[in-house]
């Protein structure tokens, strides 16, 4: 009887150890997923911030380009207005 009890104890201890191994594995698995998700979320936030910053820089660049174009139009207008009026009047007169 004593031997059987001893044998039973060995098996029970192994089962208990197995439970511990599985519980630990489950904790580790949870940790792996949590770490991975946290890292992915961090990269997502960084990606969105970088994209927004880049887009706003591009938008500012578009504003500057447009301002420069409008300034150029004003100069062209001042320099070429008389020629444009002359040509348009000639067209209307059919001369």
């Amino acid at each position: 009887m004593e031997t059987e009890a001893q044998a039973k104890q060995i098996v029970e201890e192994a089962k208990s150890r197995a439970q511990e191994i599985l519980a630990h594995a489950s904790e580790q698995a949870q940790e792996v997923r949590q770490t991975s998700t946290t890292e992915a979320e961090r990269r997502r936030v960084q990606m969105l911030r970088e994209t927004r910053d880049k887009a706003e820089a591009d938008a500012r660049s578009s504003d500057v380009e447009t301002d420069s174009l409008l300034e150029n139009y004003k100069k062209l207008f001042e320099n070429r207005k008389d020629a444009a009026v002359k040509k348009a009047v000639e067209l209307v007169l059919g001369a």
């Binding site: 031997t3 150890r17 792996v32 997923r33 994209t51 927004r52 380009e65 139009y73 009026v85």
Partner: protein, 201 residues
């Protein structure tokens, strides 16, 4: 007898240890599997998050850029339109002042000839109205009109800028050769000539 019992005792313990080792080994194997699956799932979740982030980033980029680019295109169009309208206003001013220029008589004769030809009758009625037109210019024209043509000189500028309107006697056929009417007829060509001269387009 005692030896046999000792062997049985050892055998029982040995079996138990073997079974225990199997249980632990199985648990370790299962543990490795759980971890492998967790890592694979974690990778899939991360890929999913980054893939959605990529789409989200593209949407943010478009939203910021497209609205700004649209606004800037509108600014450009508005400026161009303002410039073209400014030129057209000056054109109208030049046309309404034509009676004081040396081009007046030749232009008037050409406009009248075009209008009379368009109406296509021997008894056309020609109405003329320019700002600040001298009577003598109008009378010299009257003498050059085809026989049968009735001449009416208006004190005010026709369609505000001046011009000529010819019609048949019944008023069914009318040809408006005022500056305003010509501006409207030449609308597309005027925009093209003004744009190409100012903007080089």
């Amino acid at each position: 007898m005692a030896e046999s019992l000792e062997k049985l005792h050892n055998r029982i313990l040995s079996d138990a240890k073997l079974k225990a080792a199997g249980i632990v080994e199985h648990a370790e194997s299962k543990s490795r599997q759980v971890l492998d699956e967790a890592q694979a799932q974690a990778q899939r979740d991360a890929n999913d998050i980054l893939s959605r982030a990529s789409l989200e980033a593209e949407s943010i980029r478009r939203s910021i850029l497209s609205s700004r680019i649209r606004a800037n295109r509108l600014r450009i169009l508005e400026e161009k339109n303002k410039i073209v309208q400014n030129v057209l206003k000056s054109v109208e001013q030049s046309l309404s002042d034509i009676a004081g220029s040396d081009q007046f008589e030749s232009t008037l004769k050409r406009f009248v000839a075009e209008a009379v030809e368009a109406v296509g009758t021997d008894n056309a009625i020609v109405k003329i109205g320019f700002r600040n037109a001298e009577r003598k210019s109008l009378h010299s024209l009257e003498q050059s009109l085809p026989k049968g043509t009735k001449f009416l000189a208006d004190e005010t500028a026709i369609d505000e800028l001046g011009g000529v309107i010819a019609s048949d006697a019944g008023g069914k056929m009318i040809f408006n050769n005022s500056f305003r009417a010509r501006l409207e007829r030449l609308d597309n060509q005027l925009l093209t000539i003004i744009s190409s001269t100012i903007f080089g387009e």
